[in-house]
């Protein structure tokens, strides 16, 4: 090969060294694209058609994930201008508004996607419950999901303090005081979280470290496990019909799993991969008739949700500004002093009973949520919204969810000075 040819082919050789395949033009290519690309290989090569039904998932898990991605990107950018110091933090907020290019806009995006993520994760949980998707073999993924919900709330809560304005200071004073009501460990936990007896420089630094490092890392790790388990637990939940070839009918077959004993034979013993895989896995039920290639079908669906997320967020961030009140005045609490909105249901309860509202009821609710898949083990009704077989479970869940939402609405809109009942109209 002449030097001239080698030089001329440099662009092409570099390109092909990065991308193993050109854009797929055949089914083999479609499969290879998902299989060999680092960013795409999180997808199976083929997915069940039911997985792509927008009316089933409503894209809520993806909304949550994309909001988290946006939060990470905007958060890292904001970190370039933020100083977690009680004397500088508020000035930096004003700088973001006044002298940093896109400062206001980035802060708006970060603020609104944080609120959005709390809502999206909550709705995603409702979807998973109401379609019975937490049932075997997806029990543990539900538990991870509950932990992710708690981390989302905690991430949002720790970020609330950072602007160091009146809203931030008193919301965290009230919020950490609620945590202080836990028996035995409450006061210690509050001290550990604040690094002092009151909200001050130590609390600001601690919340900053938790907000920018600890919680995002924990969320990233758990999201990775959450996604990985979707694959290993057999893809997204779906009704039994979705695993049948079109035009066929379900036949009830009792499969008795005979435990295969793996006896070490004399000498060498080789196991095939199939011998190690237990339970449902991605390939089960995925016949060519009821699956489609991930490229481009799944990717297009994901791209659609991403663009929708970004578009809605851009519009909201252009229309509404993230709140910034007066700088902290530790001597004059606003009346009323309110926790972040997602904790106002708790604060409403705390105004009746400090222990039950702050610790008892939320503790029981979280424990019940985590135990859901282990308490409700009936196999029926998976993969359909509001399945008849799950009437009781769904009714209970919706009641709890609606009660929490009502308490939040009361705490947010119907409570005025001195926590007295006011009409928002």
């Amino acid at each position: 090969m002449s030097v001239k040819t080698a030089l001329a082919e440099i662009p092409r050789t570099i390109w092909t060294s990065i991308f193993r395949h050109s854009l797929p033009s055949s089914e083999l290519g479609q499969a290879q694209t998902s299989f060999t690309n680092f960013f795409l290989h999180i997808h199976p090569v083929k997915v069940n058609r039911h997985t792509l039904k927008a009316t089933y998932t409503l894209g809520l898990g993806l909304f949550s994930f994309f909001l988290f991605v946006i939060l990470t990107v905007t958060g890292v950018l904001l970190m370039f201008y933020y100083v977690p110091s009680t004397t500088q933090a508020y000035d930096r907020m004003l700088d973001l508004r006044g002298s940093v290019a896109f400062g206001t806009f980035l802060r708006n995006m970060h603020r609104w996607s944080a609120h959005g993520m709390v809502i999206a994760v909550f709705l995603h949980m409702c979807r998973v419950f109401l379609t019975g998707s937490y049932k075997r073999p997806r029990e543990f993924n539900w538990v991870i999901g509950v932990i992710l919900l708690l981390l989302t709330l905690f991430g949002s809560f720790t970020g609330y303090l950072l602007p160091w304005d009146q809203l931030a200071f008193w919301a965290i004073t009230v919020g950490t005081a609620i945590a202080g009501y836990a028996p035995v460990v409450g006061a210690k936990m509050q001290f550990l979280l604040l690094g002092d007896t009151t909200v001050g420089q130590e609390a600001l630094l601690r919340f900053y470290v938790l907000h920018v490092v600890v919680i995002p890392l924990a969320i990233t790790l758990l999201v990775a496990i959450h996604f990985w388990r979707i694959r290993k637990d057999g893809g997204l939940s779906r009704p039994a019909e979705a695993d049948l070839a079109p035009g066929t009918e379900a036949v009830s077959v009792q499969v008795v799993a005979a435990p295969v004993e793996l006896k070490p034979a004399e000498g060498k013993q080789a196991f095939g991969l199939m011998g190690l895989v237990r339970g449902p896995f991605t390939k089960v039920g995925n016949t060519p008739e009821n699956t489609v290639y991930s490229w481009p079908n799944l990717l297009m669906a994901e791209l659609f949700v991403f663009i929708l997320t970004v578009a809605v967020l851009l519009v909201i961030s252009l229309m509404f500004h993230a709140p910034l009140e007066e700088p902290v005045n530790a001597m004059h609490p606003p009346n009323p002093a309110k926790a972040p909105w997602y904790f106002l249901g708790l604060q409403e309860l705390v105004s009746y009973s400090a222990f039950w509202g702050g610790v008892g009821i939320p503790g029981i609710e979280v424990a019940l949520l985590m135990m859901v898949p282990y308490l409700d083990r009936k196999p029926g009704g998976v993969g359909r919204w509001f399945a008849k077989e799950r009437l009781l479970a769904n009714t209970l869940f919706v009641t709890f969810a609606v009660l929490n939402v009502i308490l939040i609405i009361i705490g947010t809109l119907f409570r005025g000075p001195n926590w007295e009942f006011v009409s928002p109209w």
């Binding site: 004073t173 009230v174 002092d196 009151t198 130590e202 606003p334 009746y352 400090a354 926590w419």
Partner: protein, 155 residues
Amino acid sequence: MSTKASEQSGDRRSFLTWFSSAALFGSAVISALANFVFLKPRATYGQPSRFSIGKPDAFPSGARIAIETRRICVAREGNQIAVISTTCTHLGCIVGVADTGFSCPCHGSRYDQDGNVTAGPAPKALPWYQVKLAPNGELEVDTSIEIKPGSYYNV
């Protein structure tokens, strides 16, 4: 190797496995817990819990004076002086001081002159702090020491 000998060696092996796993796991847990020791500050950078509030003359008899920066209220009756916390026991807001008692602007808790709850969601009374005359003749408050409500210091 006889059967008996191999069983014994299996016992020893499984014991050692369990023992070393437990030891490893135990030390991992202890190391993790050590983080909490690290995170619990030994010295705080905020306000000291013990501080001077000036000479007793600054507080005339019958006065109830709030020192907002310290989150306390100094009450004096004759020669008797008391220091009462103004941090609401409900959710940590600062209560306002009036002649009739204390009232919290955040969630409407009310206390009488001695800090006992009279209305609202506050779960307990406002604590009383220790106050003493320091050698230099100034009053010294220690908010880390709570005293029995109603016990005054004679100046």
